[in-house]
């Protein structure tokens, strides 16, 4: 595609999933930009969420690449991969990387996030990794059957890492500091079922576990030591305890940064020529880690860059764990509280648990384990805030149920 003469220069820092989606919207709209994409990782956009299936051996890396070199070429996007940006000059409107400075008319910062590494003694030992990218995934795959791994963090990512390694015959122990797994997505009862099915896959789970130190030998990790003196031997230790927005560049450039780069509803930063997108942003005090809102941000930003009206609105989120045989779904708010009512379905023998949380006649949250077929339907009801009082009797059985008058005794009409 020939670049229009005198096209505005758009520079995008970071080729994560949000940036990739934003570029699709932009190019689909045929926006007249001269685009350069700079990425620290030596590759373009791939579906990071699909790393777990790759780890579990259910997919290959090639299958999860969403934008390859051909795509950038055919869409006339210049790329600088494997080339970290070292500086942003807001006054000069340039970004600097290894191959020199690059002017921009508009800049998009999509530097994403970096995994948080707990500064335990020994955290810098060889064999202590995070779970973020292809390299981390390859490290885990490289371990091979029979090896031992410890995963610190019983959240989404940690459990996907654990299950992926377990699927490859690696003996995994999950260390979780909270009382039950995935406490942000699951209530204790659902988490109990999840833990049971993970343990059925041969994964050890230790909750309420305080890590004290990572022990090493010849510079390589040997075991994790807990405050209760327990030692859990391992050949690899994966930390999956959360992410930190990557805001170093923005901070250095002098953009407004709180916990992350502050953006408005149009994804604009404190500098009118600079936008931010993805896990590196903070919108109305909220940070982001799940993909759905980031795709929404991408669409808003693309529209904004095309001078179209658009505004980013936060919505409640739903979670699915990509671990084969651990079917869970969580959406909305499921904290107990005044005026909140539960509808519960339990089938312990089948390992099924469903909990709907209702407030003022509306569905505000749902937690399901073992059977999540109706998750999307519940998620819609949560987002629409519709009054479900009339549906309540059959709600937990999903959309197939239609309310109608029923007999109330055993007497013929």
């Amino acid at each position: 595609m020939a670049r229009p003469p005198m096209a505005e220069k758009l520079v995008v820092i970071g080729a994560g999933m949000a940036a990739g989606r934003m570029l699709e919207h932009l190019t689909d709209a045929g926006a007249p930009y001269d685009i350069t994409l700079i990425n620290a990782e030596p590759r373009g956009t791939y579906n990071r969420l699909m790393l777990s299936p790759v780890l579990a051996g259910e997919k290959t890396y090639d299958q999860i690449v969403t934008h390859d070199d051909d795509w950038y070429a055919t869409h006339g996007i210049a790329t600088r991969f494997g080339e970290p940006v070292t500086e942003i000059d807001l006054a000069e409107r340039t970004v600097v990387s290894a191959s020199g400075s690059l002017p921009y008319d508009k800049l998009v910062i999509a530097t994403g996030s970096t995994p948080f590494i707990i500064p335990l003694p020994g955290h810098d030992l060889e064999g202590v990794i995070a779970y973020r990218d292809v390299e981390d995934t390859d490290r885990m795959i490289g371990l091979g059957a029979g090896a031992r791994a410890v995963v610190i963090g019983g959240g989404l990512l940690g459990l996907e890492a654990a299950a992926g390694m377990a699927a490859r015959g690696i003996h995994v122990t999950v260390i979780h500091i909270m009382g039950h797994l995935m406490e942000r997505q699951l209530d204790p009862e659902a988490a109990g079922l999840l833990q049971a099915s993970l343990e059925a896959k041969g994964i050890d789970v230790i909750c309420e576990a305080q890590s004290e130190a990572i022990l090493g030998e010849d510079g390589h990790v040997r075991a994790l030591k807990l405050k209760d003196e327990r030692e859990i031997p391992c050949d690899l230790l994966v930390m999956a305890v959360g992410i930190r927005p990557a805001v170093g560049l923005a901070q250095a450039a002098g953009l407004t940064v709180e916990r992350a780069i502050v953006v408005d509803d149009q994804m604009r930063t404190s500098d009118p020529a600079v936008y931010a997108l993805g896990e590196c942003t903070e919108h109305r005090g909220t940070l982001f880690g799940l993909v759905a809102p980031l795709y929404h941000q991408a669409a808003v930003l693309a529209a904004t860059l095309c001078d179209r009206e658009a505004a980013f609105v936060q919505q409640s989120l739903s979670t699915k764990l990509k671990v084969t045989g651990c079917d869970l779904f969580s959406a909305g708010d499921f904290a107990e509280g005044e005026g909140r009512e539960n509808v519960l379905y339990r089938d312990p023998a089948a390992g099924i648990y469903k909990r709907l949380i209702i407030e003022n006649g509306a569905l505000i949250g749902a937690v399901m384990y073992g059977d999540t077929a109706d998750g999307a339907w519940f998620f819609d009801l949560i987002q629409s805030g519709a009054d479900i009082s009339a549906l309540r009797d059959g709600l937990i059985f999903g959309p197939s149920f239609e309310p109608s008058p029923l007999p109330k005794c055993s007497l013929a009409a």
């Binding site: 509808v343 519960l344 312990p348 009797d393 007999p407 109330k408 055993s410 007497l411 013929a412 009409a413």
Partner: protein
């Protein structure tokens, strides 16, 4: 089974007094297939829903779970020898130490004539007391008294053929459509063929009103005033048959009494009364059918005579198409009357209190003694049991602990009696559970003998199945006890035929003494001829066979004349008051019979009305704060009940109605005769079962439940009602206090053991699946094993709203989705069964009516077969069509 064709036997239905002939074909697996006998004059091949489903009440599976196998003595299995010796010794000992009147038999219209004859002979002629009464006392006694007062004998003048030839049929206190459906269908055929008019006299609008030209919703108990009004009008309009009056006496006194009665007490308008008089007086061929609404009253005998008076005054009796016709409740109530099963009767319609009669019978029996006074009638008998005057009691095939008035007191009296023998096919009745000695009796289709129906036809009940396990015929048990008491010759019977011949021979003596019941021409019937005996209407003498009585004016009083009795209206004995503001009527439903010991075994018959209920007028319901499907609490001076409210204008304000079928076995809070006072008719001794007084208030339930189960549940809640289903059982539940742990409570209810919290499903244990909505007090529990539903419980703080008839089909099926409590969206719910014969549900009919635009009961029948067999449900289908039309019009 091998390829040999099944053989079919003729027998008689086990239920009401219509006495329908049935064709029984043993299926070779312990059961029988049942069809109507086209050759039987009582039903000409027709059967009602109850008769059609008789096959559900016999069979090996049922026997194994329901029947008594051996005699039981104080709860322990025993041999026959030991048990019968104990019975003989106890009755002898009691008679010797306390006198014969300390002994009593309470028997039943379920007995065959031969059984009945031996029972009566044993106690009256040999033990020497007249303390034998029968549940016919609760059913027929007022008619017996009325007949005897008017005719000199207990004679049914006409025949069913009169229904084919009548131009007007008046139903008085009879819901013929539900209680004698085959006769009702016969009336409807006459209506179709010759335009026969129908009048219903009943405080309540019943299914019989559906085809009626006139419904007289008279004040309860005011029948005498109504027929006195008619009698007076008969005279005023010059309709007295003067020539016939040479055969009667008492007309003038009767007219005077009639004129003195105020017709206003009927609560009927002048116009209605005039219309009734016009139709009755203006129609020569009029049959007046009467039943429990007339009999079960403290003025029952007078009601009967007030009706007979009108037929005698007009001479409309014993001629084709006209006459009074009492329809009876039991298969052999009439046989019981013939053998003298009542405390004031002797065999063959002879009178105990008539010395000549006593002498004749005593001589014939060669009896050592014969009481000279009438024995105790049912109500007095159980009072005597209660206060210890009666110390040895033998109850045969009836359930007085449920069916007697003041039933709780009667139950306690039986429980407190020194020695109680109960003969029955099962130990699972309120009464059998109180017995010291339980004797397993051969059941219907096993036992052999004769019954007499409401129009004097003697029919054979034939043995087409072997006696189950160790069970024995009743005559055999009674005769054995007679022999063991020392009267070997008198009770040396070898077969039912021998007994029948003796009875027939005695009836010859009765005939010679001027009695109506004379079948002496059968006195020498051979065993083979007895086996082959076709339905035969008595009398059967050299001179006369069958036919009608009294057209010739020959009555059985000493002077050969009939009595037209002066009778006056009396109100029911129980008075309404602020404390007990409702008049409490009791009766029957379409598909159940008596205390359900037989019909309750049929899933088909249990699907129509599967729990006890109270009909209450919308206005009364509103003032009492009762909503549809609420439970209500009834209180009377004698007892309490909890029933489901059915709000309907079929009952008038101030009156409520409840069916009498439920028992301690099926719904302990619905033993409604516990609320009925033991007030009796002074002449007949029949209790007033239809005019008690009660208070009605909402039942304060903390929770309501509905459950289905493959195995019989064991409910214990304040309210429960159990019904059989094809897949097992269904049960309605409610309680004043909520269990702390519903799963534990449900496991107890369903007998599933307490492996609570078993969450990995160890083998065949019952896994629970639950849905709870704590804020709304909803709990639903399903128990399954191997993916098959064992049982499910649905609990709510208000009456549970679920598709009961669908859920009832689920036990034994795939367990998934049952907790939704309704059919999957793509599957229709048949709804409660309206047509029992073809199991067609209300919703199925409603859908067909809407989808296919059906407009008539016949059209529904063509589309779904509903109502095309016994026809008992046709009135309800008609009502459903009407309500659907009304709904359409409203939309």
């Amino acid at each position: 089974m091998d390829g040999t064709p099944l053989s079919t036997f003729k027998s008689t239905c086990a239920y009401c007094g219509v006495g329908c002939g049935v064709l029984l074909t043993p299926d070779g697996a312990g059961g029988v297939m049942v069809q109507g006998d086209p050759d039987h004059p009582a039903n000409l091949g027709k059967l009602c829903s109850k008769g059609s489903n008789l096959g559900d009440t016999v069979g090996e599976a049922l026997n194994a779970s329901y029947r008594l196998r051996t005699p039981m003595v104080h709860g322990e299995e025993s041999g026959w020898d030991e048990a019968l010796q104990l019975v003989a010794d106890q009755f002898r000992h009691t008679a010797e130490t306390h006198g014969p009147d300390a002994c009593a038999f309470y028997v039943s219209g379920q007995l065959l004539t031969e059984d009945y004859y031996v029972a009566n002979k044993l106690i009256k002629g040999f033990i020497g007391t007249a303390n034998i009464d029968t549940n016919s006392r609760l059913c027929m006694a007022s008619t017996v008294a009325g007949h005897k007062r008017a005719f000199g004998t207990d004679t049914v003048p006409g025949t069913y053929e009169d229904l084919d030839e009548a131009d007007l049929v008046v139903l008085v206190g009879s819901n013929l459509a539900w209680c004698h459906p085959v006769l009702y269908q016969r009336v409807l055929r006459a209506r179709a063929e010759r335009g026969t008019k129908i009048i219903v006299v009943d405080p309540r609008r019943t299914a019989s009103c559906d085809a009626a030209d006139l419904h007289l919703a008279l004040e309860p108990g005011s029948d005498v005033a109504l027929f006195n009004h008619l009698l007076a009008q008969i005279e005023v309009r010059g309709a007295i048959d003067d020539s016939f009056q040479q055969h009667t006496t008492g007309l003038d006194d009767a007219l005077e009494a009639a004129r003195a009665d105020g017709s206003y007490v009927t609560g009927l308008s002048r116009e209605t009364l005039a219309q009734f008089a016009d139709m009755w007086i203006g129609t020569e061929r009029v049959v007046t059918i009467f039943s429990q609404g007339v009999n079960q009253s403290t003025s029952g005998a007078d009601k009967v005579n007030s009706i007979l008076n009108c037929h005698l005054a007009t001479g409309r009796i014993g001629k084709p198409g006209m006459g009074p016709l009492s329809v009876t409740g039991q298969p052999n109530a009439m046989g019981g009357r013939e053998v003298g099963g009542l405390a004031n009767m002797l065999a063959c319609h002879l009178d105990l209190e008539n010395a000549a009669h006593r002498q004749a019978v005593r001589g014939f029996w060669n009896a050592p003694q014969m009481p000279e006074a009438a024995g105790l009638k049912a109500v007095d008998m159980f009072r005597a049991v209660g206060d210890g005057r009666i110390k040895a009691l033998w109850i045969i095939h009836t359930n007085p602990a449920v069916s007697m008035p003041e039933a709780d007191a009667v139950r306690d009296a039986i429980a407190g009696c020194d020695f109680v023998v109960v003969s029955d096919v099962t130990g699972a009745t309120d009464t059998a559970r109180l017995a010291d000695v339980l004797l397993p009796a051969a059941g219907w289709a096993e036992k052999d003998g004769t019954v007499t129906n409401s129009d004097r036809i003697i029919s054979r009940q034939r043995s087409v199945l072997p006696h189950y396990a160790g069970s024995r015929a009743d005559w055999d048990m009674l005769a054995e006890v007679g022999r063991r008491m020392g009267w070997t010759e008198a009770f040396d019977y070898g077969s039912a035929a021998e007994i029948f011949r003796e009875h027939a021979a005695l009836s010859g003596i009765a005939g010679a003494l001027g009695r109506d019941f004379d079948i002496s021409a059968l006195a020498d019937v051979s065993d083979a001829a007895y086996d082959a005996l076709p339905p035969t209407r008595w009398p059967v003498t050299e001179a006369r066979q069958g036919g009608r009585f009294f057209a010739d004016g020959a009555f059985f009083h000493a002077d050969g004349k009939a009595r037209i009795l002066p009778v006056s209206w009396r109100p029911p004995s129980a008075k309404r008051s602020p404390r007990y503001p409702f008049r409490f009527n009791t009766g029957r439903v379409r598909d159940q019979w008596h205390t359900m010991t037989r019909t309750g075994l049929s899933a088909k018959l249990s699907a129509h009305l599967a729990e006890p209920f109270l009909d209450i007028h919308p206005g009364d319901a509103a003032t009492q704060g009762i909503a549809a499907a609420d439970l209500v609490e009834l209180r009377s001076p004698h007892g309490t009940a909890i029933l489901r409210a059915r709000i309907t204008a079929d009952v008038t304000p101030g009156q409520v109605f409840a069916p009498m079928h439920w028992t301690g076995e099926t719904a302990p809070s619905a033993r409604i005769d516990a609320l009925v006072a033991g007030a009796v008719d002074p002449v007949s001794g029949q209790p007033e079962s239809k005019a008690a007084v009660v208070a009605v208030t909402p039942f304060k339930a903390a929770w309501y439940g509905f459950a289905v189960s493959a195995k019989a549940p064991r409910p214990t809640s304040d309210y429960w009602a159990l019904a059989k289903t094809a897949a097992g059982y269904r049960v309605e539940l409610a309680g004043r206090t909520t269990p702390a742990d519903w799963e534990a409570a449900a496991r107890t209810l369903f007998g599933l053991g307490n492996n609570v919290g078993d969450n990995l499903g160890g083998g065949d244990q019952a896994h629970v699946t639950s849905v709870t909505d704590p804020a709304r007090g909803l709990t639903r529990l399903a128990f399954q094993s191997g993916g098959r539903l064992l049982a499910a419980l649905f609990v709510a703080p208000e009456p549970v709203a679920v598709m009961r008839d669908y859920l009832a089909t689920r036990p034994g099926q795939a367990a998934g989705g049952v907790l939704l409590g309704r059919t999957p969206a793509d599957m229709p719910d048949p709804g409660p069964v309206l047509c029992s014969c073809f199991e067609v549900g209300v919703n199925t009919i409603a859908r067909a009516v809407e989808d296919q635009g059906l407009t008539s009961v016949d059209a529904v029948g063509r589309a779904l077969r509903a109502g095309t067999n016994c026809g008992s449900c046709r009135p309800e289908i008609g009502a459903l069509l009407a309500s659907l039309r009304a709904r359409e019009a409203a939309e």
